[in-house]
Amino acid sequence: MATISAPSPELRKERRRRVLTSKTALAAYVFIGPYVVFFTIFRIIPALYGMMLSLGDYKLNGTFELLGLDNFERLFADPIFWNALRATGVYAFVAIPLTVAISLAMAQLCNRVLRGMSFYRSIFFLPVVTSPVLSGLVFVWIFSPDGPLNWVLDGVGIGGVNWLQSSFWVLPSLALVSAWMNFGYNMLILLAGMLAIPIDYYEAASLDGANSWQRFRNVTMPLLKPALFFVLVLETVKSFQVFDTIYVMTSGGPVRASYTLTYMIYDQGFGYFDFGYASAAGVVLLVITLIFSLIQRRLVGRSA
């Protein structure tokens, strides 16, 4: 934009030299310096190192032996890995729709001018600022065989189960905790999207005789798509990476029913110190995350 006509090569070279050596460029390097150093040491090197680790065997005495794809072969032959994939998938399958549906319903409920609304919204955000560890500790009690959940279920005549000890119910129970923790955050993003929709659209729809469901279905939903997509991606990433609540509430149990991919990475890495094997599982997690965000982008891009 700054150039009026294409500068000659000499001029360009001269300009580049000036950009490189001028006092402001020097200052710029000083300003980004600490950041680049920290980032290189603690992010870029570990990222490359992680990929490399997955291709070999790291011994605790610090030696590393390159093995090629051995870790991946071992991984694909390991029933624990397939179990971890299944657990991750089931968890995501329950957690994502549950959380997004609750977030959307709550955003719709909170999108009103009402006395006390900011108070309600504050309550709904509280779980977001709570540590997953604390949430896990309380929910262990809520889900315990004679905890409040079963107490309520008994009251309405439904026999409760031992939620966290049931290999069927443990993942849905964990998904419910995640919905509780995250809906406030998503609700806020969706609410911002809803507030950006011009009121005129709703007024026009009302004049055409649309009821509140039709207004939601035909005005809110299409215009909310970008925000909804963002929330969906956020929840997908979160549910593939769930760890803290699992560590605190189930330690991957019962009998590996909640042994997800991230828990496997932690367990193989820091339980068995099998860093290469754990990193291979990490690479699989990376690939799955990328595939899912591509699929979502595709799906939403097409229907939008």
Binding site: Y29, V36, F42, L114, S122, I189, L195, A196, S279, G282
Partner: protein, 292 residues
């Protein structure tokens, strides 16, 4: 994402003038309140349970009695604070969170300023490498990060826990976005007045970034205060635990529920206070993350 980016222009309260509710709509408002109250009670229940259980020392956790402590006692709090561990863990959590907030804000604002306002060789490349790193799942990098910190003799030390978290690409990204909107004229005027590079950053840029500083600071504080996995793997001795790791270790050792819940309440209070005081900035941060 235009839908979200225009959001702040129409705050919640401004969409309609607050007028007396017409009689026929009053019933619907009442129903809405009822729904909201039920949702709020369900959301708040775990917090209530945390407090109620912490006031109920002893083994009796029979329902519904334990939810209405008949003889509330602060014994569990006395025990929690009296033990050596919880105050030590609280101190560690505080150092981990507060020092990180300062360092992240300092380095992210410096780098953000350079990326926003300066032209230098390699700017685009370095910036996009940073942003690309945001895509990597944290769990892939935690093992090599552990090995790098171990190589630097940083395991079991406070600095070994803090330093890796400073390379926060998200923070730098937000800083850059914000600083880009500061008018160049301000910087040029200062330069004409003879201000040096560092002086411009310190007296012109930094004061302008207060809103984003508050937003980021709130986020970074809460993130560190609640962080679990990295403190868990990088600190082996119980005197180095942060509160989240310490509480989960208490649970593993089957400490009394009341003591664990008292510890949980103690852990939750600083996060709650930061949230109450800086709520507005926190909300802004969530909105900005939606714009990304």
């Amino acid at each position: 994402m235009t839908a979200t980016s225009t959001a702040p222009s129409r705050p919640a309260g401004a969409s309609a003038p607050i007028s007396p509710v017409p009689a026929k709509r009053r019933k619907r408002t009442w129903r809405l309140h009822l729904l909201l109250i039920v949702a709020a009670l369900l959301t708040a229940f775990p917090f209530y349970a945390m407090v109620a259980l912490s006031l109920q020392p002893g083994e009796a956790v029979e329902l519904p009695g334990s939810l209405l402590p008949t003889a509330p006692s602060f014994g569990a709090y006395a025990e929690a604070m009296g033990s050596r561990s919880i105050p030590t863990w609280a101190l560690n959590s505080t150092i981990y969170s507060v020092v990180s907030v300062f360092l992240v804000l300092l380095f992210a604002s410096m780098a953000g300023y350079a990326f926003a306002k300066k032209r230098f060789f390699g700017r685009e490349l370095i910036f996009w490498v940073f942003v690309a790193m945001l895509m990597l799942p944290y769990h892939l990098t935690i093992i090599p990060q552990y090995l790098v910190v171990s190589e630097l003799d940083g395991l079991n030390t406070m600095w070994g826990m803090i330093l890796p978290t400073i390379a926060n690409a998200q923070a730098m990204f937000l800083m850059r976005q914000f600083i880009q909107d500061i008018p160049d004229e301000l910087i040029d005027a200062a330069r004409i007045d003879g201000a040096g590079e560092f002086r411009i950053y310190w007296t012109i840029i930094l004061p302008q970034t207060k809103p984003i500083m508050a937003t980021l600071g709130t986020f970074v504080f809460l993130w560190h205060w609640n962080d679990f996995l990295w403190p868990l793997v990088s600190q082996q001795s119980p005197t180095n635990y942060v509160l989240t790791v310490g509480l989960s270790s208490m649970q593993e050792q089957e400490a009394p529920l009341a003591t664990i819940m008292a510890g949980s309440v103690i852990t939750f209070i600083p996060a709650l206070l930061v949230f109450i005081v800086l709520q507005r900035y926190f909300v802004r941060g969530v909105m900005m993350s939606g714009i990304k």
